[in-house]
């Protein structure tokens, strides 16, 4: 098992904030917008360094989407930041019309995504955002796994000409990838090679997948671990290669079963390589208040849950 170390737990939204400042230094066309959550989504450093390229929209996400689309016409590369629920679900039609269908170079950056948001409760814990965004033609969907990768994904989004949804969490999570990794949109990251089962994860669940693989190794089960940081366009080659190799798949995500990473993987397998598969995800329910740790544990999104699903899928091989 390849060794991964949590160098220091950090927030993914802060990785985005760091990446945004770098992107701003790299390209003077990068601009940022927010809806009264500048500090919460870590756009404050960009706003301080580039005040003329920052737009405070107030608590008006729908207007913010339209302004970003308009700015993109003039050659700007707008990154808009807000709480994931309010920059996806609340403004789905705005994104559909003037970003996705009109195919504009707008980057929608949703922080506080998923159940690990914790105490704020279900009103703010979106677990449908991947489903919403991946359903839109032209949209690229990125779900980085830690602080370092959130930074690299932000830089990659700035280089891509087209609509992007970047999903970010609020809470401190293990930071274990290299800060000088290569991040290629649409290219899965093979974290560990294995032969018995494939664990395909995204976001915060990638670290849980690594911990699960470690424990499985002690049981004599060789797990391949893949970080599927790009939900769309999906790296189907990587999925099919690992499916043909291990003949058993477990997907892991901080999202609902419906419309998430697991669904994308299942669709690929059903069409090209039917393979036993299990989901680690939240099944058709809303969240609630609690600490991030309590939420992940009580909603079945821990390494131990992944291990259980691995055992289940291995019985189906």
């Amino acid at each position: 098992m390849k060794h991964y170390e949590n160098k220091q737990s950090k927030e993914l939204r802060s990785g985005f904030g760091a990446g945004l400042v770098e992107a701003g230094r790299n390209d003077s066309n990068v601009v940022a917008l927010t809806a009264d959550v500048c500090g919460s989504v870590k756009i404050d450093a960009f706003a301080k360094e580039f005040p003329d390229r920052f737009v405070q929209c107030g608590i008006a996400e729908a207007n913010m989407i339209g302004i970003a689309a308009g700015l993109s016409l003039c050659g700007k590369i707008p990154f808009l930041g807000g709480f994931a629920e309010f920059v996806t679900g609340r403004v789905y039609d705005q994104i559909r019309q003037v970003v996705a269908y009109s195919n504009k170079n707008v980057k929608i950056c949703g922080s506080h995504a998923g159940i690990s948001l914790g105490e704020d409760g279900a009103t703010h814990q979106t677990m449908e955002d991947i489903a919403l965004m991946k359903a839109l033609p032209n949209m690229t969907v990125l779900v980085p796994c830690d602080y370092n990768q959130a930074r690299l994904a932000t830089l990659a989004a700035a280089r891509l000409n087209g609509p992007v949804y970047l999903r970010l969490g609020r809470s401190k999570m293990p930071n274990f990838t290299d800060d000088n990794d290569t991040f290629v949109i649409g290219k899965a990251q093979l974290l560990n090679e294995g032969t018995d089962v494939s664990i395909i994860a995204c976001g915060h669940l990638v670290w849980e997948a690594i911990e699960a693989a470690r424990a499985l190794e002690a049981e004599g089960i060789s797990a391949e671990v893949i970080n599927m940081h790009t939900i769309k366009p999906l790296d189907t080659d990587a999925i099919l290669a690992t499916a043909r190799k291990t003949r058993a798949i477990v997907t892991c995500e901080e999202h609902l079963f419906n419309g998430g990473l697991g669904d994308s993987v299942a669709q690929t397998l059903a069409l090209h390589c039917p393979t036993p598969m299990e989901y680690v995800a939240v099944n058709d329910r809303f969240g609630e208040s609690g600490t991030p740790d309590e939420m992940l544990t009580n909603y079945g999104l821990r390494a131990t849950n992944i291990i259980d699903k691995v055992h289940a899928v291995l019985k189906r091989k």
Partner: protein, 283 residues
């Protein structure tokens, strides 16, 4: 630049286009299109600083127009074609499978002159603000125009945008409201009273121009010229353009019946008889 009588001739031909396009397509929105024909004609030919032969998505060095109530594609497309954005003959493809002239404006089919999809109401003002901010950031002194239905003002996003533009002083933006006081389910008085629109915009720190008769070409030109003169002074400008839905055909006027309903093949000649073909010729 056209003389008033030339613009009026174009407007008559545009109205013929609107009726023929919608009846041929057996769908579309003639009412609001007929009501705003003077405005679109004046904008395309006299008021906007733009060049159909050199259309760019960025609109750099040109004025930009975003029509938020995208359902009035008949007048949008006819005036664009008559201005030279694409061949007039293409109007015959309106709403047909494979056309660039989609039912509502789209950027997905490569029609020159369209920069953003619209028709899902309430979004065009925000887009216009973004483009106006982009022009400011890039040092482009040209103007951004938006056009809205009055019923569209019932959308909440409009007021987010109105509040933003007033507060931030987006003064290279001129938003025109087609004040025909009609919408699908009845008059705006019945569906949702618009109240004192001038006072509403002024309360949000906009300057306001009222055009008392938006179906009078001279009044449209004078009012829009006044709006242009008021721009660049720290406030966005709203133009309340009083029009009659269905204007130009007596039995289509003063009713919301033709908002989204088209003339039958039998009724079309009766309407066209009131709008004789001009030297510009039918498509």
């Amino acid at each position: 630049m056209k003389e008033i009588n030339e613009l009026q001739t174009i407007a008559t031909q545009v109205r013929r286009d609107i009726l023929r396009m919608t009846t041929a397509a057996k769908s579309g929105h003639p009412g609001g299109s007929l009501g705003t024909t003077e405005w679109f004609t004046a904008m395309q030919f006299n008021l906007m600083d733009h060049d159909p032969a050199h259309f760019t998505m960025s609109g750099e060095g040109q004025d930009m127009l975003f029509v938020s109530q995208g359902h009035i594609t008949p007048v949008i497309y006819s005036t664009m074609a008559r201005r030279g954005f694409f061949p007039v003959s293409e109007l015959a493809t309106f709403r047909r499978f494979g056309t660039r002239l989609q039912g509502h404006p789209s950027t997905a089919h490569g029609l020159p002159g369209i920069r953003m999809a619209s028709g899902s109401l309430g979004q065009g003002l925000s887009v216009g603000i973004g483009a106006a901010l982009g022009k400011k950031m890039t040092g482009d002194k040209h103007l951004v125009y938006t056009m809205h239905g009055d019923g569209e003002l019932e959308e909440g996003q409009i007021w987010e945008a109105v509040m933003f533009a007033g507060d931030k002083g987006v003064d290279n933006l001129i938003a025109t409201i087609d004040y025909n006081r009609q919408q699908i389910d009845g008059s705006t008085d019945q569906v949702m009273d618009l109240g004192d629109l001038r006072a509403k915009f002024e309360a949000f720190k906009w300057k306001v121009v009222v055009i008392a008769n938006g179906n009078d070409m001279q009044q449209v030109i004078d009012g829009m010229t006044q709006a242009k003169a008021m721009s660049g002074n720290g406030s966005p400008v709203a133009v309340i353009l009083t029009t009659k839905m269905g204007y130009g055909v007596d039995f289509m006027q003063d009713t919301n019946k033709y908002h989204g309903a088209v003339l039958s093949d039998a009724d079309l000649p009766r309407a066209l008889a009131q709008l004789p073909e001009t030297e510009l010729k039918d498509y």
